[in-house]
Symmetry: C2
Subunit: 227 residues, 2 copies
């Protein structure tokens, strides 16, 4: 299948990596996860940015920074933007989406908790290099319903997370509309739509295996970062 211009260049991970300028991530977008974080169900989407330098693709490793004592996995559906857009109406959101990806929003939970307690940004906790391992690009036509996808994450052979995108508090059209009312979205930008419950620690020597059932699977070893 030949894709139209803008989308063709996104049809590989290197296309996403090369073109996108931001990752807009959503906090607490599954009620059971908000609960496990002892947080309230949000009334509007909670946004934060991750730098695109945090991407790592299959074959790479996730590194635990020396400053982090509690690195957590968060498996998420990523939405890949196909066209520059702003003030998108929910009804039009779908046409600005090029496809999807499965990603892990790696989080230095100890650093994040310290930041939250001081009212400080989450940037360091979420932004280290290798903190966004990501699958190949999944062309939109391969996904029948993005709100009926099973997400899972194993650590070694233990199932840690299993959830369904139908449980998102804010659905994809709401997210695209809300984000684009604040900041322009551009081709290759990725929306990390939030994680279901079951987040937890990974340690050096373990392997994370995550995916979207029937669509894609990724596997990343975890190592200590050497300066």
């Amino acid at each position: 299948m030949v894709l139209p211009g803008a989308r063709r260049s996104l049809s590989s991970l290197s296309g996403i990596l090369g073109r996108g300028r931001k990752i807009v991530a959503i906090g607490r977008n599954y009620e059971a996860h908000a609960k496990e974080m002892k947080a309230e169900k949000p009334k509007e989407p909670i946004l934060f940015l991750k730098p695109t330098t945090s991407y790592v693709s299959q074959g790479g490793k996730v590194e635990i920074p020396a400053a982090c004592k509690d690195l957590h996995h968060e498996v998420e559906l990523g939405v890949v933007i196909g066209e520059t857009c702003r003030d998108v109406r929910q009804a039009d959101a779908e046409r600005h989406i090029a496809g999807y990806t499965c990603l892990l929003d790696m989080t230095a939970r100890d650093i994040q908790n310290a930041a939250k307690n001081k009212g400080l940004p989450w940037t360091v906790a979420k932004g280290y290099d290798s903190f966004t391992p990501m699958s190949e690009f999944i062309e939109k036509g391969r996904v029948r319903d993005p709100h009926d996808l099973e997400l899972y994450c194993f650590v070694d052979n233990e199932l840690r997370q299993k959830g369904n995108t139908r449980d998102m508090i804010f659905k994809i059209p709401e997210l695209v509309a809300y984000i684009s009312s604040i900041m322009t979205l551009e081709p290759g930008d990725v929306i990390a739509t939030g994680t279901p419950e079951g987040v937890g620690q990974v340690k050096a020597g373990q392997v994370m295996r995550a995916g979207i059932t029937g669509l894609v699977e990724i596997s990343f070893p975890v190592v200590d970062r050497r300066p």
Copy 2:
């Protein structure tokens, strides 16, 4: 003067806009500003990200979003990265810098205060389109000492901010070293080095005039955003 390859393409604002993928901003990097925010002097740099879609260059306007009732100006020195780098030592920082820019880190103070109180990210408060008005690129050779620059910001004809970069708590080499120990820096990335005291509200119909004495001046009208 002919600049070497990587830097030549940065020697215009469109070069920065086109190439950079992140703005890493520093919170509370001047003691008098930390004090006016009723915050402690930080023990390590406070980082947050702004999206590159927030840039606006001379000729454009700064828009007040409908959700914001208290938009603040923060005049800052921007450091423009010239080369991909990670784990930069302070002694080597200078060679990874292509030049400088003067920018305004526009901040929806009401939205930021609400976020701080809930331990939530500053992304929305800092990330709207037009929230990073920026000057032309200032080639490194034109700046004798980046730690002896006078920053100023007028609103209409009232002087609101006047400070000197010598009062930064964390100097530029410390910032480059600290940030690059967390995330890779890339050509065109901008470090917004923090604002001196005197931040305050701007309203629709006012004009901000800011600059670095002897080097550059920018002027941006403030308007209400129409959805």
